[in-house]
């Protein structure tokens, strides 16, 4: 692989949340886990589901549906926890399903169209159009920072 293609392409993990597809750069993803026992942590934000034992490391888990104010759904067979590392943080995201690993052409990433749900837009770094799919690229810093 040459440098040119590396710069042009962005490898992402694609996951499903409600009826949309989202993407996170693979470099921030440490792993994808099946749903496991979550210990509730009292007096935290509503979307913090609690902590899990990730091979000996206590890792907090966020329900992305609740984080984005999407309707809460029951846990399905496909529900996954995507483990994200960001700087010194390690956090799990609960998503409906983890679908794909894709290479996105950097040129296909554009600004978020203004009309899409206004509540989410803070978390969105951009949108990538892939043939007939629309991937929403997440702004991880914003997702992990508390809402002001």
């Amino acid at each position: 692989m040459t440098n040119a293609t590396e710069q042009k392409n962005l490898k992402v993990i694609v996951f499903q949340l409600a009826d949309k597809e989202y993407a996170i750069p693979v470099s921030h993803v440490k792993g994808i886990e099946k749903l496991m026992h979550i210990t509730r942590v009292p007096k935290t934000e509503r979307y913090v589901k609690g902590v899990i034992n990730l091979r000996g490391v206590v890792t907090p888990v966020i329900d992305l549906r609740e984080r984005f104010d999407l309707p809460v759904s029951g846990n399905e067979e496909t529900t996954r926890i995507i483990i994200i590392t960001l700087e010194t943080m390690e956090v799990g995201f609960i998503v409906d399903s983890a679908n794909d690993v894709l290479d996105i052409d950097a040129s296909s990433i554009g600004q978020q169209p203004e009309v899409v749900g206004s509540l989410e837009e803070d978390f969105i770094a951009g949108v990538a159009k892939l043939e007939n799919r629309l991937l929403i690229l997440l702004h991880l810093d914003k997702v992990l920072n508390p809402i002001d």
Binding site: V41, K43, V51, V57, T59, M89
Partner: protein, 698 residues
């Protein structure tokens, strides 16, 4: 050369060498005549210099070099050790330490040491001609001797060993029995790898051919490789000097062997040499022609070997440095294994297969041992903290004009690395306090009929799951009345309280927050400079501190610390489906109370617990535990916890039991969760939260 990868190693080793320097300097101060100690310091300094130069820290290397010159002069008896010289050397070591710490903090290790360098130079130059005329301070004895031989062949060689009366008698008698007494100097090659082995071979040859009377350094030291490259042996044999010399040269890696005959008259009187009987004159040429089966450059080489003594002189340490993060990872992996073991055990129980059961049981035992090892790997002797105190006390006692002896007991006691890192500062504080406020000046001590020299004893020992560190001084003790008066005036205690306080409670007032302010340092006879900070730090480590003191007799500060911070004993409790861990250190006891025992005081539910009114905290409310249905069987399980002298009763659904757990943090995302101090992983793989009892009590 890419040096960054070595930087950490360099810093660690430099610290070790400097520590060794400090320790040996203190020792030297007590035994100024013992030149082997100087040798030790020299060795450390020399290695440090070499490392610093390699790493490109010129200032560091330069100052070390200047210090080394002084040490070398001392070692070669050109300068006599005195307090002034030691002060300057101590000062140099301090500077070197600062430089190393600067480098550790990412600095360049530059430091203004002009004043110290001047002092070092003055000491070096302030010596009589011998020091000045000597071109190279490290000039080896052997080199001087070769000159001696060639220029004055007729004179008996000077003895390099000193002998006591017994040894002299042996040598004199041996010559009467037609034995020859020799003084043999063996120089090993500077690149010799197994010095102890060579020494052994040399001694083996010698012992086949005669008797070794004495060696310098001593045989023990030689076996431990505690010498540079040259050693001397006094030896009695019938063999001629030349043969001995040849035999010894057969040992590989021996650079040079010098065999000198010891003439009996050396002991009698030197001038008597002329009157030596004829038969004894005979062997003399043999002595002088001797020996040096060596080419001309050799003496020089030997000299440089001596200067380059370096690392090989150290007994090799059988430890390895491991990044603590790796140990944490190991610990996590181990826990995973432990959890799987639990599952395996229960599966084996269900299957009930003989061989499987046996295997699983054996595995459990092995894992038990493994667990011990993993945990003890994090343990470090408390010496790593204690070792800085002798120098500190020395400096303090000089600054304050007091005479103080610091005794250290139990420095080998081991503590978890994380505790070690935290405990240093509180100890510095307490020792300063003992030295500053505890120990009286020599005049006062004399007036009180105490010895002028005060004693501060620092000791550490294990007891149960705790380590105790105690600082005891034989100083003035705490003035109860003054402390009480101060506490009353500051409003820390009320007059009523003060009437019922025990002496111990009063002593401990000096650690109450708000007790000490800068202006009390001098006017309260006792102590109390920010001791509340010490108390807080120790309590944050899960330990506690207490004080015993008798006026005019002394004080003991006793610190109790958990063996490790990563493992604590907890009481597991259940609320609905959730399991919480309450640290045993805050629990006083558990009890079951009737619903009807609960009283209402204002809006607070309380119980009467042994005559005390104790407020109740319903954990299910605090932690907002979702409840399927209200349970009410008329009883409540209560854990009585304490913070200082305040009590509270935590109401839970049921007790599960006591357990040792491994403390885990909640990570960087969830910080400052109310009343939760961390988490742990239970045997079933689930996470349980640890209750922070202190946060539940105001």
């Amino acid at each position: 050369m890419e040096l960054n990868q070595y930087l950490e190693m360099f810093i660690e080793e430099s610290k070790e060498h400097l520590q060794a320097c400090s320790e040996h300097l203190l020792e030297l101060e007590k035994n100024p005549e013992d030149l082997t100690i100087v040798g030790e310091i020299f060795r450390s300094a020399h290695t440090l210099k070499g490392m610093a130069a390699t790493m490109g820290f010129e200032d560091l290397a330069d100052l070390t070099h200047k210090m080394e010159n002084i040490l070398d002069a001392i070692r070669n008896s050109k300068i006599k050790v005195n307090a002034e010289i030691l002060d300057v050397v101590f000062e140099s070591v301090d500077h070197l330490e600062e430089m190393v710490f600067d480098i550790a903090d990412g600095g360049d290790g530059k430091h203004d040491v002009q004043a110290t360098v001047e002092k070092l130079k003055r000491i070096e130059a302030g010596e009589p001609a011998t020091a000045a005329s000597e071109p190279m301070p490290g000039q080896e004895v052997a080199a001087a001797m070769v000159v001696n031989e060639s220029e004055q062949p007729a004179e008996a060689p000077e003895l390099k060993l000193s002998y006591d009366d017994f040894e002299k008698t042996v040598i004199l008698q041996s010559s009467e029995q037609e034995f020859n007494a020799y003084e043999i100097t063996v120089a090993l090659r500077e690149d010799c790898l197994l010095k102890a082995a060579r020494v052994f071979m040399v001694f083996e040859i010698l012992e086949k051919n005669g008797d070794v009377i004495k060696s310098t350094p001593t045989v023990d030291k030689l076996e431990e490789e505690q010498f540079d490259s040259v050693f001397h042996v006094a030896f009695i044999s019938k063999e001629p000097a030349e043969d001995l010399q040849k035999m010894l040269m057969k040992v590989s890696e021996v650079d040079r062997v010098v065999v000198n005959k010891i003439e009996r008259d050396v002991f009698v009187t030197k001038t008597a040499a002329i009157e030596v009987p004829a038969e004894e004159v005979q062997p003399q040429p043999a002595i002088q022609e001797t020996v040096t089966a060596v080419s001309e450059e050799q003496p020089k080489k030997a000299a440089s070997a001596k200067n380059n003594n370096s690392k090989s002189g150290h007994a090799s340490s059988k430890t390895i440095r491991v990044n603590i993060e790796r140990l944490d990872i190991l610990m996590n992996l181990f826990e995973e294994l432990a959890i799987d073991r639990g599952r395996l055990l229960s599966i084996a129980g269900d299957v009930n297969h003989g061989e499987l059961n046996e295997t699983v049981e054996r595995m459990s035992r092995t894992m038990g041992d493994l667990q011990n090892i993993v945990l003890t790997m994090r343990m470090v002797p408390v010496d790593t903290v204690f070792n800085r105190f002798p120098k500190m006390v020395r400096q303090l006692s000089r600054d304050l004009n007091k005479k103080i002896e610091l005794k250290i007991v139990g420095a080998e006691t081991e503590l978890d690395r994380t505790v070690i890192d935290e405990i240093g500062d509180p100890l510095v504080h307490l020792i300063r306090n003992s030295v500053d406020h505890g120990i009286e000046s020599p005049e006062v001590r004399r007036a009180k009929g105490k010895p002028e020299e005060g004693t501060v004893e620092l000791r550490a020992y294990h007891s149960g799951n705790y380590v105790f560190i105690e600082i005891e001084d034989d100083g003035a003790g705490i003035n109860r009345d003054k402390v009480l008066a101060k506490a009353l005036s500051k409003g820390i205690v009320t007059h009523e309280q003060s009437l019922t306080m025990t002496d111990k409670q009063i002593n401990e007032l000096i650690m109450a927050s708000g007790f000490s302010t800068a202006d009390v340092i001098s006017d309260v006879s006792g102590r109390g400079v920010g001791l509340d900070v010490v108390k807080t730090t120790i309590e944050s480590l899960g330990g506690n501190i207490s004080i015993e003191s008798t006026q005019n007799v002394g004080s003991v500060f006793s610190i109790q610390l958990p063996l490790t911070l990563s493992i604590i004993s907890v009481m597991l409790v259940e609320i609905e489906q959730e399991i919480y861990a309450i640290p045993l250190s805050s629990i006083i006891e558990t009890s079951i109370i009737r619903h009807s025992d609960i009283l209402n005081a204002h809006n607070q539910k309380v119980i009467d617990f042994r005559g005390k009114v104790v407020p109740l905290v319903f954990l299910e409310e605090i932690f907002e535990v979702p409840r399927a249905e209200q349970k009410n069987d008329g009883f409540h399980s209560v854990v009585i916890v304490r913070k200082g002298d305040k009590l509270a009763g935590l109401v839970v659904d049921s007790f599960i039991g006591q357990q040792e757990i491994v403390l885990k943090s909640l990570g960087n995302y969830l910080t400052n969760i109310f009343a939760i101090s961390g988490a742990t992983i239970l045997g079933n793989g689930k996470v349980a939260l640890i209750v922070d009892c202190n946060a539940l009590m105001k």
